[in-house]
Symmetry: C2
Amino acid sequence: MAKVLFLPYEISAEIGKEETIIELAMRLGIHINASCGGIGACNKCKVIVESGEVLGEKIDEYYYKACSLVPKTDVVIRIPVESQVERSALLRRTRAKAFERKELLEINSPIKRLYLELSSPTIEDNTPDLERLLFALKGAGLANPDIPYALLKKLPYVLREGEFKITVSYFEDPFSQKVSLIDIESGKKEGNPIGVAMDLGTTTLQLELVDLITGETLAYTSDYNPQISYGEDVISRIEFARKKDGLKLLAERVKEKIAFLMEELVKDLEYELKDIKAFSIAGNTVMTHFFLELEPKFLREYPYVPVAKSYPVYRAGELSLPLREGVPVFLAPSVASYVGGDITAGVLASLMAKEEALTLFIDLGTNGEIVVGNKDFLMCAACSAGPAFEGGGIKCGMRATSGAIEAVNIDPITFEPMLITIGRKKPKGICGSGIISLLANLFRTGLIDKAGKFRRDLKHPRIREGEEGLEYILVFKEESATGHDIVFTENDIENLIRAKGAMFAGYQILLESVGLTLQDLERVFLAGTFGSFIDLEDAITIGLLPDLPRDKFYFLGNTSLQGAKKVLLYSEKRLELERIAQMMTHVELSNHPQYMDYYMAALFLPHTDETLFPSVKRSI
Amino acid sequence: MAKVLFLPYEISAEIGKEETIIELAMRLGIHINASCGGIGACNKCKVIVESGEVLGEKIDEYYYKACSLVPKTDVVIRIPVESQVERSALLRRTRAKAFERKELLEINSPIKRLYLELSSPTIEDNTPDLERLLFALKGAGLANPDIPYALLKKLPYVLREGEFKITVSYFEDPFSQKVSLIDIESGKKEGNPIGVAMDLGTTTLQLELVDLITGETLAYTSDYNPQISYGEDVISRIEFARKKDGLKLLAERVKEKIAFLMEELVKDLEYELKDIKAFSIAGNTVMTHFFLELEPKFLREYPYVPVAKSYPVYRAGELSLPLREGVPVFLAPSVASYVGGDITAGVLASLMAKEEALTLFIDLGTNGEIVVGNKDFLMCAACSAGPAFEGGGIKCGMRATSGAIEAVNIDPITFEPMLITIGRKKPKGICGSGIISLLANLFRTGLIDKAGKFRRDLKHPRIREGEEGLEYILVFKEESATGHDIVFTENDIENLIRAKGAMFAGYQILLESVGLTLQDLERVFLAGTFGSFIDLEDAITIGLLPDLPRDKFYFLGNTSLQGAKKVLLYSEKRLELERIAQMMTHVELSNHPQYMDYYMAALFLPHTDETLFPSVKRSI
């Protein structure tokens, strides 16, 4: 009998006679998407054969169909994220409405385009192609531009194809004023130049195709970061990168996905990949290191040193992206190992660094990054909140995909729950926003106490002793999509309280480091797509957010993507972004002498110090 | 019977039973080096199997031994230049003594090296690697350097290997003052930095390894340009480049050879390829186009437009050279399609553009390039002299390799010749310097008249009617290495007269274009290794060089290589070189209204107008 090891789950089993991989996976409870019932029609059950010999049908160079795959020897099968999760749910969620901050600024993209009619060479004037071009550029005010090698090579063809009429794309570095050519095309290009902005997230990639003249978003797409197959969080991916060619593989996989998504962005429009003239990326420090293939291990090793904070502008050709070689790739600068370009771009997009109002900027994710400040100062920190708010470390937690419970209400009398799932499907588990609601409801209804423990005196069919202590049964197995009870355990609650405690202690330390308190805050900005889905009251009830007047809170949406887009549209924004990164003082929370005290004090619902949560106190 | 096609000769034949490739080649009169008699010991009979299946022994990835090679199907066999010609002769010749012009200048290489001791990161100062480096560089006066992508990728390893002590190599662009990093190495590098200068010739590559501190040439090597296999002259190579992937192949082959020669340069010294920190190349416009993989066909097509005249500084990584990715590659600028970087570098090396003396600079080769001028002006032209002075188009002409007749004297009474061959071997043919001597002697002794025709009245065993008219038998077949008579025909003489006529008309047109005559010349500089071997009196006698006082002539040697080396050693020389290229006014001889008249007048020995050659007139 051949043995099958499933990655990334590390579950292995012997395959039965005449059993296919998808049947074995089903038997083991390993989810592989399949909408056609296993008849080989849907092509969704993609798996990668990492080692061993198989019989089966390939979908493309990388993937086999699990539904017809049979091992000939012991095999290792990797289930890619595309087969684990439904991308449609992701696309739905990330389009949520957000209060994007707008500026009254005229669009002034650093990417410019110029139409030139060069004179054709004659025997009297057989000036070489390059010098002919440089002369014309100089006439247009562009002296001594950088010429990518690939451009020089294609120059003679481009000039002659268009009878010496050309469209030149270029950008000017706002720091050095150096002009760099991006592309040269034959004839006069119609239509506006376009660029791509991307939020390079640990979990998801979100891309927008942007009109560089009107500022309009022409197309949007997103997908999971395929690096998930090699580790859900940044730490496990850094570990994976230590393997031979691991880093290279991580970089290649994400670039393949980016290429695929870019194709998707342009495909329904009258554009092609070669029309994209700039690429602006905002990602956290680790994702940016992976993307540039920079060694990430020192980020994790004491004293936690990134390879770089500000990234030089490299070209698409150097970075093996499927764009014109000369296309500049702008990467938002980081501040520290765990405060990255997604946060600097977020602060840029939020405009908080241009305004008087003292603002707390919160990006809730695996690492909750926070920034406090205004136009005069910016303090930032990463709170190691862990993945609890994304469903990680929670028994029945799951990502926010179809079938996830995203909202919960508990009747204060009957203690019966009301739930809403994504896509209105039979419930499979609970995602982040559902988890916060559930915790808040359990606390509000008194089912759990300040310490997060269930009332021991109450006999209720939904509260029972489970494997990990007491638990609340949110969905009985008869009603669940999994055939198992969906429960919420004291262990889960403890994880959540630790996570929210880390966040709250972070706010306090940051503020204290500049002699301020929560009461001084004039605004709280919630960034990230996740932020757009949580219930504000619930989040304050559990002490995840500070108890401030509700009109001080703003859901800004994906500020990382918004910031990346601003870099494409406003020449001066790259300067502003670098200035923001320079301004941001990073506080290493774990080194701060008071941090543990604040953290311990926050390990209650909503907090040990109830005066910090007056409205919660009143309502309970 | 399998058919064998030999390239580059395009001779094909059926191979006999049990016949090897070398035996077939011998039967067909195709030369393949072999010093061991075909026993498989010498490894000199290298051939490339371009198509077809064979049985045989490989020497390495590319080459088979011809002496054991048997075709299984029809095959195409390419005889590489290494097997056609003996490189040892080349190495001997190119070391000839030359009057290299020296300047009293302190060496000031644009390639600088800096030893830095960075502080090691601590938790209080975990500044990223790049920013730590940039800070230290700024402290040393180097602000905002360009960082090649490959350097950023290796930065974390290099820093930690040397405990944050590093040696940084960089260069400053003399035009923009922009500083660019070349390499970063762990610890303190001992020994001086080194660079490579190269003369990229149509026929030969000549390379020097240069100490960038002392200016000393540490090693020298040369070899044939392997592109010869695809065409002896630039025109046939441009034709070859039109084929699919032809241009790519030409670029690859020359880069492979360069890589091989660079290995050879460093191998006996305490250096490795990675120690080379700069590469300076001077080559003609076509060779430079091939090297950069720039489309060459427009150089040949009316109105003869190069892709570029001044070449941006690209990096070894971009150009796929086996050096550190960040190593800058300097290419000497061209003036026109047939006046290239070898000439601008030559003018640089000659110092003529810094001095008052009116100078005629002559580089005699396939295209005889000429420059007239001084510090105030420079006029240049390419004379289409053809390859006659290199033995091309001459019945028994050959390259200057072992067995070539390099010097000739004819007894004025007996008309018997005295000859000297390269390597003192049995004569195989006549090379350029021998051809000039022979022509001059035939003329001086009255065996030929002013028009280059043999005396019809003379009965002499060495003069006979051949296939192409009258001819002089220089070597009877009994004494020759080929088993055939070595002859010199009226046809050969006509070709030579046309070639020297083209040169002489070129001198006149160039001088006339600035209102000067030959008598105004204060100096004549003869450049090129070929120039170092010709007999001055003989060259004047045939009218190839102007009849001026002999002390006005200087043999400068390989000025192209000398110029390339100066760029490595003196920061300001790149500016000077670009200024020279700018200053040089190109005269298209074939367009000049008087050119044909001057040319026709020069089709005599030494010239129609004998007053131009007073000393020749006196001596005859």
